[in-house]
Symmetry: C2
């Protein structure tokens, strides 16, 4: 199968090979060394400020989003949540569950966040900001620098969910001033799902170390304390952490984070050029590199997903909820080439002819 | 490396091979089918009563222990916790964190729980019981039938952490009346760590569906609702769930759960016979099949762990905390043979000679 979803995505041969190996015992100095190497490269690729730390969590990225909300905010905060799709909505629900006072900056599906719109919330006493830098449900990229400037001005604790943006879109944690960056193993890191990483700038480290969290599994202070010796409080997904190690070193050897971002950007651009002649509409006013959200003008989005899966051996990413029949997504992350884009475009053309919508 | 730890353990060739494959997209009917098959076989092997369900969690087993405490008990309960080691202690701490009133039935390391001792707590108004059927830190097996009878008599909600007991020690969920059974992917299931399973008998299903849980990730009602269509609320560790599928079918093809338990029991018995001539003491008064806890009479336990790792390519399982220098553990789970036991025994003999403690 050819996989154009936004996770799990296709792994490199090297990452697959590590997945086929026996998983070693992990309460050893050897595993600690691997974890330190993972932390070092994660910090480098996130362009994190000095003395930042990484929490390696064995859970989906939603678990890490929840851990961050629980460890970084309390009922004394007043948080602004950027909500332009289902992942923004998830942050809203997490604030509700954990009694974190919040307001929602609501955007329509695909809508860009302008400076004008953002500054309607300036000087209003917010203490924190929650944003999905790439709102993966619609492929909208928010401007991490513009948001960082806003947070600095308002002295807000700045949380960036970069689940599908990390390694796909330019992100400079030190420069934009993010306190937290969250990502997952199965996006541009192109490893199997099961591990999520939380990068904490010094202010965030300080905050979680002083937090009172009603959780054992999501106690980030405990996670960071164990990580001082390259370990985790509980048995982690050791196999996936080894695959992450192979992949981080692969990216480093190929030239580092900027080269990887350029590769994903080129993969996205190639696809967008190739599809532009067909009867589809782009959904995002501010397209992220990792994924393209597409509205078929003359066909059902979910039918196209099924047709590609069942007759062409190709996975694209369906949308859920209201958008199920009107929007699908094509990922540009993982082990994909420009030739793979051509294969997908040709399949789409055939499907459109089949439903009498060739677009001409 | 030859791996005698209690997780991660050695996988079969088939499970390794699946680990080396690309991880498929999972919001598909194909993945749902695999999840239904996983659920069916888990219920069969746990001998769960009719209408039981399985929650597949992407987290360590501690995460599942926490989810169970959060979803099944409230501050209106009064729970009895069997605490004979670090995993019993973990249940105690989870009750503390989540404000679940509890008393602790404390046992010494290695101590068997007798009926006499247990019935000191009879008729005292407890509403629930938390127990690690195999207290993995010391290899003590508690009697799930005796505990079940006690819970039935006292109308207590009965939670069995079978993390390292499932598939290693006889366990009949329907017969012993357990409401909850917890296990993990990396114990006798012999898959990489990262997934934990919670089996819920009908009374537990009912309880979690009516629970008010202050958590998104550990909301078991949401997990069960998604599992009605073979799915999970958030991206699960798809690769490990595929390995679990291969392994469950492997066990089924080899004769099922009783054959697997007999295999693990024979592996344990073979090791215990072979080591009996050496200057070691067994720690557990009620040995579980999955692991043997050993106290070296004339050597340092942690030194033996390091020596085996660094000079023989063998992992055994060190203990933590107070027991670090006095106890180590040898697992009998995963892809191990009786010949592997001989290899370990020969290495232990050489090490003892090296420190002048050959035992004669």
């Amino acid at each position: 199968m050819l996989n154009f979803t936004v996770g799990p995505v296709m792994c490199s041969d090297e990452v697959c090979a590590v997945g086929g190996e026996q998983v070693p015992y992990f309460r050893t100095s050897e595993f600690s060394e691997l974890m330190f190497e993972n932390e070092k490269l994660m910090l480098k690729f996130a362009k994190a400020p000095e003395n930042s730390r990484v929490a390696f969590m064995t859970n989906s990225s939603t678990g890490s989003m929840e851990a961050v909300v629980m460890n970084c905010f309390t009922e004394k905060d007043r948080v602004l949540v950027i909500n332009g799709g289902s992942f923004g909505q998830r942050f809203v629900e997490l604030c509700e569950i954990h009694d974190v006072p919040h307001d929602v900056l609501k955007l329509n599906h695909g809508q860009k966040l302008t400076k004008e719109k953002l500054y309607e919330y300036d000087g209003m006493g917010y203490t924190g900001l929650l944003v999905n830098i790439d709102e993966t449900s619609t492929g909208v990229l928010y401007d991490s620098e513009m948001l960082g400037e806003f947070c600095r001005k308002n002295n807000m604790f700045y949380v960036c969910d970069c689940v599908s943006a990390f390694l796909a879109d330019p992100f400079d944690m030190a420069h934009c001033g993010a306190d937290i960056m969250i990502t997952g193993s199965q996006k541009v890191l192109a490893c199997p799902p099961g591990v999520s990483m939380i990068v904490l700038a010094p202010r965030a480290v300080d905050r979680v170390q002083n937090a009172k969290v009603k959780s054992m599994y999501f106690d980030l202070a405990d996670v960071l304390k164990n990580m001082e010796r390259g370990q985790t409080p509980f048995t982690p997904a050791v196999g996936i952490l080894r695959q992450i190690n192979a992949r981080l070193k692969e990216i480093e050897a190929a030239g580092g984070v900027d080269v990887e971002i350029a590769r994903v950007a080129a993969q996205a651009q190639d696809f967008r050029e190739k599809i532009s002649a067909l009867p589809f509409e782009f959904v995002s006013e501010s397209p992220a590199n990792g994924v393209t959200s597409i509205h078929p003008l003359n066909a059902d989005a979910y039918e196209i997903f099924l047709e590609l899966k069942d007759h062409y051996g190709i996975w694209i990413c369906p949308n859920g909820g209201d958008l199920k029949n009107t929007v699908f997504r094509v990922g540009h992350i993982g082990y994909l080439s420009h030739e793979d884009n051509t294969t997908l475009i040709n399949a789409l053309k055939e499907i459109l002819i089949g439903v009498g919508c060739s677009g001409n």
